[in-house]
């Protein structure tokens, strides 16, 4: 039997402190928490930075380090710093060193890095070791070399290697959400289908219970399956909350692809042990060859400047579409003539269909509208230059030549706000490895007093 304590769905999300304390009292074998995901967009992988503030991350990580010391078991975090790029791992390692020094604690830290060199990935592509998933963007050696960060998603094997160092704390770069939870149960011979299925149910903390905000859950893995117990006082895991979690952020509710194979829950059985605990058996792990890891990559996709104007005049509110279309045509022509270069102007009508665009066929405008101008260009300078050309249109452009010059509401001076570089995800591919550690780098250090 292996007990894994998951404090919450992600470091920085918060949890109920009493629930964590109850979890520690259950004497877990390991504490595992996720540090990120792609869900907040490509900026974080593009820049190798965290979406959560350093202050929040530091405060929660210090509490988890204290909980770890009390339990005397390893603490593992995957996808450190939101994106799991090497810089984001270093950021959390720095925070960890500071906390260890403050606490006067001596710790062995294992650091697993998932970052991939663009040149090496270009060679792997040439060698046929990178294959597309569906749908995959077109890639080339050039695109791979252009990525500001590429990460490979580590699985259970790489986390096991990190645990084997005897580390008190493991800080891992990009991993699958589940690997940090399944690694120890798999290493100790628990049921493989149960290990991956329990890990999937646990990866979002208490989200698979009736009280998602309590955060902390305990998963007990054994030779046949797993049992999930919420640590929040009022939280209950039910057959329904547990089985429905396979739907969550998962394109196939019966299968979950992981490094080295996939989980199949078609035959899983969910049994309520009591009011708040659920036991699951019958999940299957299917090993596949060759061993592959998923890749994520982000590259720069230009520079953006955003402008905002508010329209309250009923005549313009009723005719905003025609107004923005005219501005787009005229400003694009003017900017092409005056500065040239590669740029796009887009005007989204906030209050009409800015959320869903042309897919939204039942959008109805209200008494006022906002217009968000988005200029994307190949350089920062061009993006600002074109946005400045857009400025007089957004302020004064008349619907027809016959009317008096209108003036709309700029909430700010200037109305344009540079967003800097923008990034895009450019990989939905897997990389074949001869040995699971081939794409990863593991190191250890002693930190603190």
């Amino acid at each position: 039997m292996v007990k894994v304590l998951v404090p919450s769905g992600a470091l920085g999300l918060g949890y109920d402190r009493d629930a964590l304390a109850r979890g520690i009292a259950e004497k877990p074998d390991i504490i595992a928490i996720d540090g990120g995901s792609t869900d907040s967009g490509p900026h974080y992988l593009g820049t190798g930075t965290s979406k959560y503030s350093r202050g929040s991350t530091r405060a929660e990580w210090a509490e988890l380090m204290a909980a770890r010391a009390e339990a005397g078991v390893p603490l593992v975090i995957g996808t450190a710093g939101t994106c799991g790029a090497d810089d984001a791992v270093d950021w959390l390692v720095d925070i960890t060193r500071e906390i260890a020094a403050e606490r006067g604690e001596h710790l062995r830290l294992a650091v697993l890095k998932s970052g991939q060199d663009g040149g090496a990935m270009a060679r792997a592509l040439d060698a046929g070791r990178i294959t597309p998933l569906t749908p995959a963007p077109e890639i080339s050696g050039e695109i791979l070399r252009d990525c500001t960060n590429i990460v490979a998603l580590a699985g259970a094997e790489q986390i096991q290697a990190a645990l084997d160092t005897g580390a008190d704390i493991v800080i891992a770069g990009r991993t699958t959400d589940t690997a940090i939870i399944s690694a120890l149960p798999l290493a100790r011979g628990c049921h493989p289908g149960g290990a991956w299925h329990g890990a999937k149910i646990g990866e979002c903390g208490a989200l698979a219970t009736t009280s998602p905000n309590t955060g902390t859950i305990l998963i007990e893995f054994d030779a046949d399956g797993f049992t999930i117990t919420p640590m929040g006082a009022e939280a209950r895991a039910t057959r329904r909350t547990v089985s429905a979690h396979m739907l969550y952020e998962n394109s196939d509710p019966y299968r979950l692809y992981e490094p080295g194979g996939y989980l199949d829950v078609t035959a899983a059985r969910y049994a309520a042990l009591d009011e708040r605990r659920v036991r699951v058996t019958g999940s299957e792990w299917v090993a596949t060859e060759p061993y592959t890891v998923k890749l994520e990559g982000a590259r720069r996709a230009g520079f953006q400047t955003v402008s905002l104007v508010l329209v309250r005049d009923a005549h313009y509110v009723e005719n905003t579409r025609a107004w923005v279309d005219d501005i787009q045509t005229k400003c694009t022509a003017k900017a092409t003539a005056r500065v040239g270069g590669d740029f796009q102007i887009e005007l989204r009508i906030i209050g009409a269909d800015a959320t869903l665009g042309p897919l939204d066929t039942s959008a109805k405008p209200g008494s006022e509208l906002g217009v968000m101008g988005i200029v994307t260009a190949e350089t920062e300078a061009l993006s600002r230059e074109v946005a400045k050309m857009l400025n007089p249109y957004l302020l004064h452009h008349p619907l027809t030549e016959q009317e008096e010059m209108p003036t709309f509401a700029f909430p700010f001076s200037p109305p344009e706000m540079p967003r800097g570089a923008v990034y895009e995800f450019c990989l939905n591919h897997v990389l074949a490895l001869n040995d699971p550690m081939d794409a990863f780098r593991l190191s250890t250090e002693e930190i603190g007093a």
């Binding site: 869900d39 490509p42 394109s251 897919l359 923008v422």
Partner: protein, 101 residues
């Protein structure tokens, strides 16, 4: 004719990675499940999102009273054409579909 959102308990859309969108219709009761599962046309859902119907995956899950759809994201998450980073608003479109049985 009733809107799907007025029959189901909840309609949810989420990213399933940057390249996929997944929509879960929690029907609540077996009766609502039957009505939605039978009344919801797969091709019409594909048209709603401008998706090639062969790319749309549908899962009818009576054990959960859930109908689930997964499709390649209408715009890859975070690209210039993407308007909703977390993809949660796409659920509104599905919720507004009329069910005529």
């Amino acid at each position: 004719m009733t809107a799907l959102k007025d029959i189901a308990d909840k309609v949810r859309s989420k990213n399933a990675g940057p390249f996929w969108l997944t929509l879960d219709v929690f029907c609540g009761t077996e009766e609502a499940y039957q009505r939605i599962s039978n009344g919801l046309d797969t091709d019409a859902v594909a048209r709603l999102f401008g998706t090639d119907p062969t790319q749309l995956k549908r899962f009818d899950m009576p054990e959960l009273n859930v109908v689930k759809f997964s499709l390649p994201r209408p715009a890859v998450q975070g690209t210039r054409a993407d308007r909703d980073m977390h993809g949660a608003s796409f659920a509104v479109l599905l919720g507004e579909v009329r069910i005529d049985r």
